[in-house]
């Protein structure tokens, strides 16, 4: 979908939320839901930051690290990609305390989601680095650059552009996964929805608002990543001519 369509969808979603919020039967739910949305956004942002750090570290470790580090990174990636996010969340929340490590639910949420998405992200980073044309590597070698220099100055700036769209998808995945934290007692948007639904049985108004809110948040991420991509690919000869 084009960026204009996405912006139009976001505008429609926001207008509908605004219009519903003026209705008496919807208004009562707004303060609670907005409170939940704030927690959702906090977890999504912190989780995404952790995911980026883990993704880059794991990818570099797998590509250039010494054998033990490479092995460790591979195990990390396979475990977190091979099991469900919910299983990871519950494992950190219920099992870790039995080993004497009790983490706060918020920290568990950020850790589980960040590590989960980071594992997928490491493959994105690896793919993007490998997609940089071989001539670029050869030219950097010919210019007698050291490996860190090569990565920092030549390869990563080009790989960065290729990473943006898949990372955008991962951020959306992470944002959607934050709904899972409602199952470990955090009162995020999904939790508030559940709670209000159980108290009032006003299922349709509550869930309509919640779905629209998640939609709006996802669209903000998608649009932001599109703009970032456009900005980052300025001056690079890649993709279709504008």
């Amino acid at each position: 979908m084009g960026i204009r369509t996405l912006v139009a969808m976001l505008a429609v979603a926001l207008v509908v939320i605004g219009a519903l919020a003026t209705q008496e039967s919807y208004k009562v739910f707004m303060p609670g839901l907005l409170q939940g949305a704030v927690l959702t956004i906090e977890i999504a942002i912190l989780g995404s930051l952790l995911a980026i750090v883990m993704g880059v570290l794991a990818a570099l470790a797998r590509m250039y690290g010494p054998a033990p580090l490479r092995w460790l990174a591979t195990v990390y990636v396979e475990i977190f990609r091979g099991t469900s996010a919910l299983v990871q969340l519950f494992w950190l929340f219920f099992v870790l305390p039995q080993f004497g490590v009790t983490l706060d639910a918020f920290l568990v949420a950020v850790l589980a989601l960040g590590l989960n998405v980071g594992a997928y992200g490491s493959e994105v980073v690896r793919g993007a680095i490998q997609s940089v044309a071989r001539g670029q590597w050869e030219a950097s070698t010919a210019l007698n650059m050291s490996r860190p220099q090569m990565l920092r100055r030549i390869i990563l700036p080009q790989a960065f552009v290729a990473m943006i769209p898949p990372w955008g998808n991962l951020f959306i995945e992470l944002l959607k996964s934050t709904a899972l934290v409602s199952l470990i007692t955090l009162s995020d948007l999904a939790f508030k929805a559940q709670q209000m639904n159980q108290n009032t049985f006003k299922t349709i108004p509550i869930f309509t608002l919640v779905l629209l809110m998640y939609l709006a948040m996802s669209l903000v991420v998608t649009i932001g990543m599109r703009l970032l991509e456009r900005r980052a690919s300025l001056g690079l000869a890649r993709g279709k001519a504008a």
Binding site: S84, V87, Q194, T203, F207
Partner: protein, 219 residues
Amino acid sequence: MIWDWAFAFEILPVLASAAIVSIEATLIGFALAASLGLVLAVVRIAVPWTGWTISVLVELIRSTPLLIQIFFLYFVFPKFGVVLDAFTAGVLAIGIHYAAYCSEVYRAGFDNIHRGQWEASVALNLSAWTTFRDIIIPQAIPPIVPALGNYLVALFKETPLLSAIAVLELMQTAKIIGSETFRYTEPMTLVGLFFLAMSLVSAALIRSLEGLLNRRTMR
């Protein structure tokens, strides 16, 4: 003792029978996703004016959390007098969610068919139905099987969400064992290992399937 082998073996049969529910949910959910996704993709091509509606619908489904969709279906249907049991509502939600993803995969498959194939079908005066059934689909599906396979694995890994509406699948069973015995280590770890094993095995299967398809469609 942090890990109790005797306890682990004791709960294994219970978890194994719960695993069957998870696998059932996966298979039914994926059958729904694959067929509904195909319908969406075909309708989009066959009835041009639906294109915009379908892409908005797909975008809506893909940008909201599956958990909320599961809750929504589970709690909303009774409002219209249709009471679905938790398993049906959950599988329906998972199926619809993944149908949105699958329809994009099919679309990519259709987009890769050479335009000449469509034109030749028109020239031969084939009906739209015959064109799809005998010309387009047999060529479009094999290349996208691995992509669909990846979604099958992804869908499988989402089935623990059904525990949120108390379907007695693996996760819910592990949680119940945990809350009854206050031992979470063994059930949760076993569930994790089960998913890990299944994912690794299916990833290997998909890779070999991919190799097989590449060899068969090599021209």
